[in-house]
């Protein structure tokens, strides 16, 4: 019975995550639960999780510009960063999945009916695993903005969807990465659903001239912070 309550994971500070019910984003109305959630103290099922690594990764999954016969259209960019927990500890060997619209703002998806052109050389899905220091890197194109029907003249700012597993069920995170200085931020209810303005800023990548590949691609850094442990467990013997 002593094992039934392992060291749990800390909750994010208030204002970090969006409320499920956010009227400015209309689709939340029929989908946000009406009852408050019941607290689930972390036990073994929550502090473990799928450790999915290299077996999920295809040869071209890290480079979304070269997954087809021809090259994808658009501004080539490198999107990279470090995944760590809120104590700054690297999260190594964890699966990072991304998906995005093409340079014209159109998703290669049957549900996307916007009239912007599809690019036969761009699917928009990518997958990598972080290295031993928690670093990841993708090569892709900068996605375009696109209109949607949430409100009059609504446009989504350019963004890339990110999905992370971390090392535990509690660390699972799906988010969106944005680009610096986007004039569409002010009218976007999804970006603005994050209550704390400082937390919101953490969704915005930074342009990194030093990481640019000269003559080839611009670079944006997007570091991702997952939840850390409640308290530091005793150090395990080193490998």
């Amino acid at each position: 019975m002593t094992l039934s309550r392992p060291v749990g994971y800390r909750s994010a500070p208030d204002g970090t995550h969006p409320p499920l019910d956010h009227p400015d984003y209309r689709s939340t109305a029929p989908r946000a639960p009406s009852q408050p959630p019941i607290v689930l103290p972390h036990r073994l099922t929550e502090v473990t999780g799928p450790l999915l690594a290299g077996e999920r990764i295809g040869e071209r999954d890290h480079d979304l510009t070269t997954q087809h016969d021809g090259e994808a259209l658009g501004q080539r960019i490198v999107v990279f960063g470090r995944v760590c927990d809120s104590d700054g500890r690297a999260v190594p060997d964890t699966l990072v999945e991304i998906w995005q619209a093409n340079a014209a703002g159109r998703y290669a998806h049957p549900g996307d009916n916007w009239s912007a052109p599809l690019d036969p050389n761009f699917t928009g899905g990518g997958r990598v695993v972080t290295d031993s220091a928690g670093n990841y890197s993708f090569t892709t194109i900068k996605p375009g903005a696109y209109p949607w029907s949430n409100h009059h003249n609504a446009w989504r700012p350019s963004h890339i969807h990110f999905s992370l597993f971390g090392r535990a069920f509690t660390q699972r995170l799906v988010t969106q990465m944005y680009f610096p200085d986007d004039p569409l931020f002010a009218q976007d209810p999804i970006f603005n659903s994050v209550p704390d303005p400082k937390a919101r800023q953490r969704l915005i990548s930074t342009f990194d001239l030093a990481a640019t590949r000269p003559g080839w691609a611009l670079a944006y850094r997007f570091d991702i912070v997952l939840r850390g442990r409640e308290q530091t467990p005793f150090e395990e013997p080193h490998d």
Binding site: S4, P6, R127, R172
Partner: protein, 187 residues
Amino acid sequence: MTETQLGPTPSQTVGPFLHIGLTWPDGADVVPEGTPGAIRIGGVLYDGNGDPVPDGLVETWQADPEGRFDHPDGEASRGAPLVPGFRGFGRCATGADGRWEVRTVKPGAVAEQAPHIDVSVFARGLLDRVVTRIYFPDEEVANARDPLLAEVPAARVPALIARPTGLGELRFDIRLRGEGETVFFQI
């Protein structure tokens, strides 16, 4: 201690086009096809209007039949895999009819807890995942002693217990909102 901590990255919705990034050909296979004793667990994801959600994603995480996890934090419960190819994790996007389903084996009890499966639900319109648990209908005694179920108002407990619908087949509908709303947990 708090001042040295980094702020976690906020959650955002998966949006309607999650399939581009989050579907795997073998996503729903917590165990490989042909696994002895495999069961199918699935149901319909409904919104607050009672309509099926056709653009959601359900993920499952569970112990093996001995209640063990192949994970460093599950060390004490670790052992040679009892079920070849057991992944513990399943993922299934909902169809046009809101249906999802995974193929798995029934998990064992985990310490003092009744057998259960942790579930994450993602969808357009959900700015963060919602988390629930699947419990089993043939575990009345263990369910009655389960420390988490004890925290759930009795009237809502049935929504957390899967229903048998056939041999090796369990149904677990997820209602995001409204009548019969699924119990969601804050983790």
